[in-house]
């Protein structure tokens, strides 16, 4: 039988819970981003740590407790005409700590960077219960090592995030999505590449089944109109682009499979190699970041047979964790060394 989840109401109580833990913990926020193999051990819930510590719209700075719901942060920022530029994929219940721990980043990563790029400071608790601070609340900061990047995307394996500082961004005044019919995902890539190779400041370049290639422009109204005009000319060799009548981008933030029994894989590759990978796979659920991100459903337990490529594939939904190709052994050794030092007692093993 599992113990009731612990939900400490502050950083000090959370640190104490970790110090006194005698067995591996599963530290979660909303628990909306768990991947295969994760979530084992007694549950330690971070949702007792909530609230905005500081928000200065004129400095583009937000400092917030890690258990704060993502949805409430989106609302707080929107009230001031701002947003998290990296468009974090959101599910009901997602917390901002989970966003940071998963480096969860949406379509605008192409233009504005990932969660790790917007994250400018944080506090976390290591496996011994020490509270560590790194970075700060200013966007230019090279004082000491950048543990902010190390912690972003570390999925709770090195420590528990308690407070996060983000650089915010203005919500663009105007946006426009061009749609271009494409025979299949691979056929969309040359059009996306052409759009990304010119001075159009593209903020989204994706493909969805049944929709074709999607290219988003954002900014001041006149600028968007002018860039769309010249982008249409650039895209002419690939077909006749039309304007999207609805907003397809939320679909790209949360790729899903039609078959709930299927495994979901996330592949990161060079866009120039995406066509070769797609040739070895069934039709993907989506393509994003100009072809650098592929989400594809595969039968449960199956490993894709992929040609050699620069990048990696990871099973993000399914029974067993899997990464192809096997990670670089030297990098894996360094990862293990960091885990041994930040979590010598193996408290965060619940996030393997």
């Amino acid at each position: 039988m599992r113990d009731l989840p612990m939900r400490p109401d502050g950083e000090a109580a959370l640190a104490e819970a970790i110090r006194s833990a005698r067995a591996p913990l599963s530290v979660t926020g909303g628990g909306t981003r768990l991947e295969p193999g994760e979530g084992q051990g007694a549950r330690l819930d971070t949702r007792g740590l909530t609230g905005v510590t500081l928000y200065e719209p004129e400095a583009l700075t937000l400092v917030v407790a890690a258990g704060t719901p993502l949805a409430s942060i989106v609302d707080i920022l929107a009230a001031e005409g701002q947003m998290l530029a990296f468009e974090p994929p959101a599910s009901p219940g997602s917390t901002i700590g989970g966003v940071a721990a998963a480096n969860a980043s949406g379509p605008r990563r192409l233009q504005a960077g990932a969660a790790r790029d917007a994250l400018i400071g944080l506090r976390f608790i290591d496996g011994q219960g020490n509270v560590v601070r790194n970075g700060g609340r200013v966007m230019k900061n090279v004082t000491g090592y950048d543990l902010v990047k190390l912690m972003a995307g570390s999925r709770g394996r090195l420590g528990v995030l308690t407070e996060l500082a983000f650089r915010t961004a203005p919500i663009p005044q105007s946006r426009l999505t061009l749609c271009l019919p494409a025979r299949d995902a691979a056929a969309a890539i040359p059009a996306l590449t052409a759009a990304l190779g010119g001075p159009f400041d593209v903020s989204g370049a994706a493909w969805l089944p049944g929709r074709g290639a999607l290219i988003r422009l954002e900014g001041l109204e006149g600028s968007v109109r002018l860039r769309a005009e010249s982008l249409r000319k650039t895209l002419a060799p690939f077909g006749d682009p039309g304007d999207a009548q609805d907003d397809p981008w939320p679909l790209l933030r949360c790729p899903n499979t039609h078959d709930p029994q299927a495994d979901l894989w996330r592949i990161i590759c060079r866009p120039s190699q995406a066509a070769a990978l797609l040739a070895a796979l069934p039709e993907p659920c989506s393509l994003d970041w100009g072809g650098a991100l592929i989400h594809v459903a595969l039968p449960a337990g199956e490993l894709p047979q992929l040609p050699r490529f620069s990048g990696h594939a990871r099973r993000i939904r399914g029974a067993q964790p899997a990464i192809l190709p096997a990670p670089d052994p030297v990098a894996a050794r360094l990862d293990a060394g960091l885990r041994a030092r930040f979590d010598p007692r193996g408290i965060f093993q619940g996030a393997p």
């Binding site: 719209p57 004129e58 400095a59 583009l60 960077g113 990932a114 790790r116 790029d117 560590v132 790194n134 700060g136 609340r137 200013v138 966007m139 230019k140 900061n141 090279v142 004082t143 000491g144 090592y145 950048d146 543990l147 990047k149 190390l150 972003a152 995307g153 570390s154 394996r157 090195l158 961004a169 203005p170 590449t193 990304l196 190779g197 010119g198 001075p199 006149g222 600028s223 860039r227 990161i268 060079r270 866009p271 120039s272 100009g290 650098a292 991100l293 620069s310 990048g311 990696h312 990871r314 990670p327 670089d328 030297v330 990098a331 894996a332 360094l334 990862d335 060394g337 960091l338 030092r341």
Partner: protein, 486 residues
């Protein structure tokens, strides 16, 4: 500047070590004291110490052979890009081997389809953009030393530049590296989109000041060149109002590529030196936007409307290439102009933009208390300040007074919620001020990372962390070394 005593056991084996280095990297070793002098300092020229030897390898394999040897012999190593660090990041110690990137300058791959370029790490920042210019691309981070500084050094210090408000700093534009660890192991970090399975090791290597490994190759994100750019100059009769104008522009949702700020002492010095024709005022802003001419007009119309609401002394919009050049002329010659007035120390603290009036007033008070002049020029959009403290290097005690003044300014930056260094790095210069920004626990967490990458603390060891904090780790190496010898 206090540095640890050189390791006598290493110095005693000098000749044998140099001979072994020559075997590891034939024709790449410099040990003649007349020549090693050229490597005794970087751009923080107040502190100098010639190294035991210098190696300028021609390949990753040679770097690996040299590091393996130094690791086995427990010889300290100081990595060096182009030696343009303003923080003493590549200043040697007498028992150290400097490993320089000067011969690693090739472009290895250009992929416009993947919007990346792969280069050897000794290549200069500007020549990376040069290599992709013909294809319509550029490499965004643009430190002011970009003509000379090496990409390897940019990665070590996570360098920024004037345009990072829009494009970010090195870490936001770095996709991967080939790096040699201190034991000679070669590792590839990063990948497409900068991502690799596992921890973001690339992210922590960038900005680690050469303490985790020596980067020999880098994969960099390149961007399509904008159609054009145009600056405006806005002059104010108060620094506070200039600061408020910056906040209002950002608040309005406009993100210029650069917002630069100069105060009266800086304006006066650059006028005497460069004669850019700047107005007589307390503070001026240079705001630059990018795009096609109509896009630029659209942005500048909004900026004009905001700026005029703050009643500037002057709002000067460039109408031609020549006018744009003149607007930038004073800013770009600011450091040279200050150099005409005397010796100076350039600081690099960052503050929250909202604290600008408080910090400028505080700097003015400190200037009177120390009896030393100071001029402010900085990247206002991101709060990265570059106060320049004037002193006389020939006057006894003046340098120490200027350093104490500078330390107080940086403490002020930390006090208002900022940091010691925004883009130059800690090096030796700000090493002992780290106590003002971090607790011992904060620094312990950072040093654990070094323990993993460089367990014997051989790489650039007496930097970044205050000597008292890193002492036990650095001394453990020597104790182990003498135990091995015994």
């Amino acid at each position: 500047m206090e540095m640890p005593e050189p390791d006598a056991a290493v110095l005693a084996r000098r000749d044998a070590i140099v001979a072994a280095l020559r075997d590891a990297a034939p024709g790449a070793v410099i040990d003649d004291p007349a020549e090693t002098r050229a490597y005794e300092c970087d751009a923080l020229a107040a502190y100098r110490c010639p190294p035991m030897a210098v190696v300028l390898p021609r390949s990753t394999a040679e770097v690996a052979a040299v590091l393996r040897l130094c690791h086995d012999e427990r010889v300290p190593v100081v990595p060096r890009g182009a030696g343009t660090s303003l923080a003493g990041g590549s200043m040697p110690t007498a028992d150290a081997v400097v490993v320089g990137l000067a011969r690693l300058t090739e472009v290895l791959e250009i992929s416009p389809e993947d919007r990346l370029v792969r280069v050897q790490a000794g290549r200069t920042n500007l020549s990376v953009s040069g290599a992709v210019d013909g294809l319509g691309f550029f490499y965004a981070p643009d430190p002011s030393s970009q003509l000379a500084c090496a990409i390897g050094g940019n990665i070590g210090m996570n360098s920024g530049g004037a345009h990072c408000l829009k494009y970010g700093v090195t870490t936001n534009n770095l996709l991967g590296v080939t790096m040699v660890l201190m034991d000679g192991t070669v590792v590839e970090l990063g990948g497409p989109m900068g991502e690799a399975p596992g921890f973001d090791l690339l992210g922590v290597v960038c900005g680690s000041e050469g303490q985790l490994g020596i980067v020999t190759e880098a994969t960099l994100r390149i961007l399509p060149k904008p159609a054009g750019a145009r600056p405006v100059l806005v002059a104010f009769d108060s620094s506070e109002v200039a600061g408020a104008c910056v906040a209002a522009i950002i608040r309005a949702g406009i993100l210029p590529v650069a917002i630069e700020f100069m105060d009266r002492p800086c304006i006066r010095a650059t006028e005497d030196h460069a004669r850019a024709g700047y107005p007589d005022c307390e503070a001026l802003l240079i705001v630059e936007v990018e795009g096609t001419p109509p896009e630029i007009d659209e942005q500048l119309a909004l900026i004009r409307e905001i700026a005029l609401s703050f009643h500037p002394v002057e709002f000067r919009e460039s109408r031609s290439e020549e006018e744009s050049r003149r607007i930038w002329l004073g800013r770009k010659s600011a450091f040279g102009a200050m150099g005409q007035l005397g010796d100076y120390i350039c600081l690099d603290g960052t503050i929250p933009v909202s604290a600008l009036p408080e910090v400028l007033a505080g700097i003015g008070d400190l200037s009177r208390r120390y009896g030393l002049g100071v001029a402010n020029v900085f990247h206002a959009g991101d709060g990265n300040m570059h106060p320049l403290i004037l002193y006389d290097a020939n006057a006894p005690g003046d340098l120490e007074r200027a350093e104490a003044f500078g330390a107080d300014i940086l403490r002020l930056c930390v006090k208002v919620g900022g940091c010691l260094t925004g883009e130059h790095g800690v090096g030796i210069e700000k090493r002992d001020l780290m106590h003002d920004q971090f607790t011992p626990i904060d620094m312990e967490a950072q040093m654990r990372v070094k323990d993993v990458f460089d367990p014997h603390w051989l790489l650039n060891a007496a930097k970044v962390f205050p000597l008292d904090i890193s002492a036990s780790r650095r001394e453990a190496r020597r104790d182990a070394g003498s135990a091995d010898a015994a």
